[in-house]
């Protein structure tokens, strides 16, 4: 069988299983339809919604916050991670800061962000960035710190000045680690943006869920949940594709 086809099937199987499980819970009467609508109904509603500008507006709002926060986290995380790996001075400052801030649930800062930045995009983008930052920073740091010394030496002997080593050797060599961190950061970004919108918001997918909950519209509750999961899966595959291209020379770990 075609290996590419195999891969696709492998990816679809868990989703298919999940849908089958979902449907069977209803068909076999384990869950009443009022509490758990059948997948068919949810997807039908999703399909309907996709043509409404309101729904598209909600998706847009969520995506703006998602990409904004993730983008900031990537830029900051990679920059600081690389800097901390090559400069002992920066390392000495960054390390204790990360040790202190990492165990604090960033979502606890959310009310503060709401107060300072308001209830719209800014507070959510900041929260997403704060949560996604640490995995990216740490993966970049460890990836850069563990670059094989002999690679750097080879480049230096070939005439690379010290100032260029960071971009010509450390960054490419640390790419596998950086991209792993980005993947984790992306998953976290999807989760956090959704939760932030659920806690307080005026628009976005999370807000849609809470709205539907208030009016006991179960089908409408599942639509945004399924949407964010699908968005997450799509973005994840895109990132995976990028990773495969960028890391085509690296041996599989």
């Amino acid at each position: 069988m075609n290996p590419a086809l195999n891969k696709v099937l492998l990816g679809i199987t868990p989703i298919a299983l999940f849908l089958a499980l979902w449907q069977s819970l209803i068909s076999f009467g384990y869950a009443p339809v009022t509490m758990l609508p059948p997948p068919g109904a949810v997807f039908l509603r999703l399909g309907q919604q996709l043509f409404t500008s309101d729904f598209l507006h909600e998706i847009a709002a969520t995506l703006v916050r998602l990409f904004g926060g993730f983008g900031i986290a990537v830029v900051l995380g990679v920059t600081i991670g690389l800097a901390a790996a090559v400069s002992p001075g920066i390392n000495a400052v960054v390390k204790p800061l990360v040790r202190v801030m990492a165990p604090i649930p960033k979502v606890a800062l959310y009310p503060a962000l709401l107060l300072i930045l308001g209830f719209d995009h800014a507070s959510k983008i900041t929260l997403v960035a704060a949560d996604a930052l640490f995995p990216i920073l740490l993966s970049t740091y460890y990836g850069a710190a563990m670059v094989e010394q002999k690679l750097i030496w080879s480049a230096m002997a070939a005439g690379t000045p010290r100032s260029q080593i960071l971009f010509k050797v450390v960054l490419p060599a640390a790419m596998p680690s950086i991209l792993t961190g980005c993947r984790i950061g992306l998953v976290i970004s999807c989760i956090v943006v959704f939760l932030a919108e659920m806690i307080t918001s005026t628009d976005g997918l999370g807000h849609m869920l809470v709205q539907a909950a208030r009016t006991f519209q179960t089908v409408d509750m599942f639509v945004p949940l399924i949407t964010i999961s699908m968005l997450g899966l799509i973005l994840n595959s895109l990132l995976h594709g990028l990773r495969t291209y960028l890391l085509r020379g690296f041996p599989e770990v």
Partner: protein, 283 residues
């Protein structure tokens, strides 16, 4: 001005090799010592007062038991490590850092995984500002020379150990260093690939006779390849003896293996290393 130190059992009174280049010092190692901080107040003396001169065009092996500091000495000449005491010079100038005049080849190959074979080989050329088209052409020629024509677009992960080392050698030769620093380059390869690469290395070397500093722990390899073998004591490493290898070039493995002079060199040097006091099991 070659170094003539104690020569225990090696042939006395052998003629110096007919020089292809006028004898001049390429590398001078002057009272070099190396001390590493291990933890807190502890430190470990890796090299102790090394004095060595290496002529231009000479193929010199550094031989010794594990941990004797031979790789460290190579790294000092390469400028990757700064000596705690003394200094190393290349062409009269003190070595302060790495440079394209001293090209390394490492046991672990150290190829850039994000570049393909041709990209790796071209790296030094591009670094020197050579235009892409020309760098590519020169890269291809080098790859052909090391026997890897057709592999330009492969990535290092797709190559065998022997092939990777060929790429590494091509990459270093690309920027035309005056000195080749080889750190147990064939140590990670199987015996068969190893002998092939030894032969190929000599063939390549014969073309322009660069100065080579070759670290190994294999006595046979050292004797087969070199003009001189520097035998080191175990840690803290110092030079026990420098042995001149008076065997004709070009060296053919099949002939040499049967040559009694070659065999005597190997036996004598092995005894020299044994004398450095390795622990023995007394049955």
């Amino acid at each position: 001005m070659s170094v003539v130190s104690l020569r225990s059992d090696a042939q006395a009174g052998s003629e110096p090799l007919p020089a292809l280049k006028p004898a001049s010092a390429m590398i001078e190692i002057d009272h070099v010592s190396q001390r590493f901080q291990t933890s807190g107040r502890q430190s470990h003396l890796a090299l102790s007062d090394i004095n060595l001169t290496i002529d231009d065009g000479a193929f010199v092996s550094i031989l010794g038991p594990s941990g004797c500091g031979k790789s460290t000495l190579l790294y000092i000449v390469g400028g990757f490590v700064q000596p705690s005491d003394g200094a190393a010079k290349v062409k009269g100038k003190v070595i302060t850092g790495p440079g394209p005049d001293r090209g390394p080849v490492f046991q672990e190959f150290a190829l850039f995984p994000w570049k393909n074979v041709l990209g790796n080989v071209m790296y030094g050329l591009r670094q020197q500002g050579v235009k892409k088209a020309e760098a590519e052409a020169r890269g291809r020629k080098l790859l052909e020379m090391v026997g890897l024509k057709g592999y330009e677009n492969f990535y290092p992960k797709e190559l065998s150990g022997g092939m990777k080392q060929r790429v590494a050698i091509a990459r270093t030769l690309a920027y035309n260093p005056a000195v080749l620093l080889m750190d147990e380059p064939f140590g990670a390869l199987d015996a068969h690939t190893r002998t092939r690469l030894q032969n190929d290395l000599l063939t390549i070397w014969e073309r322009d006779r660069k100065t080579v500093l070759f670290v190994t722990h294999s006595v046979e390899e050292a004797v087969f390849l070199s003009d001189k073998v520097v035998v080191m004591t175990r840690s803290p490493g110092s030079i026990k003896v420098v042995v001149d290898i008076d065997l004709p070039r070009p060296r053919k493995r099949a002939e040499l293996l049967l040559d009694p002079r070659y065999q005597k060199y190997v036996v004598d040097i092995e005894k020299l290393i044994d004398d450095t006091g390795e622990d023995e099991i007394h049955a």
